[in-house]
Symmetry: C2
């Protein structure tokens, strides 16, 4: 399988690229609006994985080319770039499964707060922007990027996954479960994305307010 | 200290009464709109604790009397009864700390969804309904009642706590930390209550969609 990470030069993209590169046998395609930046980031991730003797294939491509190749296409971009990014690759998605991990947040009253778009969640915004025949799955919303990119760190995190297309959701659950020390869970339909996205500002607020906690994820037990 | 549980005859009240009774040396006052029901529930909880050789004091009282005695007063009532309950005891609260654990949810599109009141969260609604000089703290939103009331069950859960009054929040954090296998965490100001409340429908949806998971709580790690 080929996994494309649009905006894969960013911090969440780096972590996903390194984990997918190390823990799966999928080809990872790092996408960017700029082909040189995509290639540079891919080379850097490949070097990191090679130092660890991981047998990984990581390539760079401009976003539409990455999207065209990806069986799974992850929108690893900030929430405010999400709709534009989907539109810029809409003609290339073919049979791809589109994955939305972005969260809208704003800072106010002493902390971060969930700030969803009018359609209810960022994941729903991705579904609205995507072509009708492209299934959209919400996943990877609650991953702390710094720890994700630190390959020595065990995560112990759960990844709640939502979507209205059962096959697409199953594909993403299986992909996430291939990441070591991660457990993917079915959180139901796309309408449940807001509750998952809202967890991210809570994780950040908890790290900010409690000594010794940082780069938090979530475990359901 | 005396801990009053308004609506303490309900399922979350039962669990809190049993855990506070077993794990702390505070007097637990089970409140109800009906004095007989309060006394019956208190006697039942006391018997359960006595069978386990727990040295607990559990008493029953009508809600306003329970509120008058409580140093901490927990609104263990459904979200749609919360404002009425606060108003019914408002004159009795004195120096109490008021605790709001309720969550508004509605079922739609194949799952439960967070359904906050217009003021932004149920905890904020409690703050709005309470007298100005009574500090309101949000806590205990994410506890699965059945497992909470099963004293043999280790929980392994975190309890995020929000509030704008630092002393009141610290009182509730200390109280929650006295519960065995529970860790209370400071989640910031009251404005962060919505993100915590929204977790509860997610926990229920995860239990509904994944074999082997039930009565879920959350651990931040």
């Amino acid at each position: 399988m080929q996994v494309a990470l649009l905006g894969g030069t960013g911090d969440i993209g780096e972590g996903l690229a390194l984990r997918f590169g190390r823990d799966t046998d999928h080809t990872v395609i790092v996408g960017s609006r700029d082909a040189d930046r995509a290639r540079d980031a891919a080379a850097e991730y490949a070097a990191t994985l090679s130092e660890r003797d991981a047998d990984a294939t990581v390539e760079g491509a401009i976003n539409p080319d990455a999207a065209a190749r990806g069986d799974v296409v992850v929108l690893a971009v900030p929430a405010y770039h999400l709709a534009d990014t989907v539109e810029s690759v809409a003609g290339e998605l073919g049979e791809s499964v589109l994955v939305s991990p972005a969260v809208g947040m704003q800072r106010s009253e002493g902390g971060l707060h969930y700030n969803p778009p009018g359609v209810g969640s960022v994941t729903a915004l991705a579904a609205q922007a995507a072509p009708d025949d492209v299934p959209v799955v919400g996943a990877f919303h609650n991953l702390a990027a710094g720890r994700l990119a630190t390959l020595d760190a065990d995560l112990g995190w759960d990844v709640p996954v939502v979507g209205d297309d059962p096959d697409a959701k199953e594909t993403v659950i299986a992909l996430a479960n291939q990441m070591e020390t991660v457990r993917a869970l079915d959180a139901g339909g796309l309408a449940g994305a807001a509750e998952i996205e809202a967890l991210t500002p809570l994780l950040i607020n908890l790290a900010a307010n409690n000594d010794g906690l940082h780069d938090l994820g979530v475990s359901f037990q």
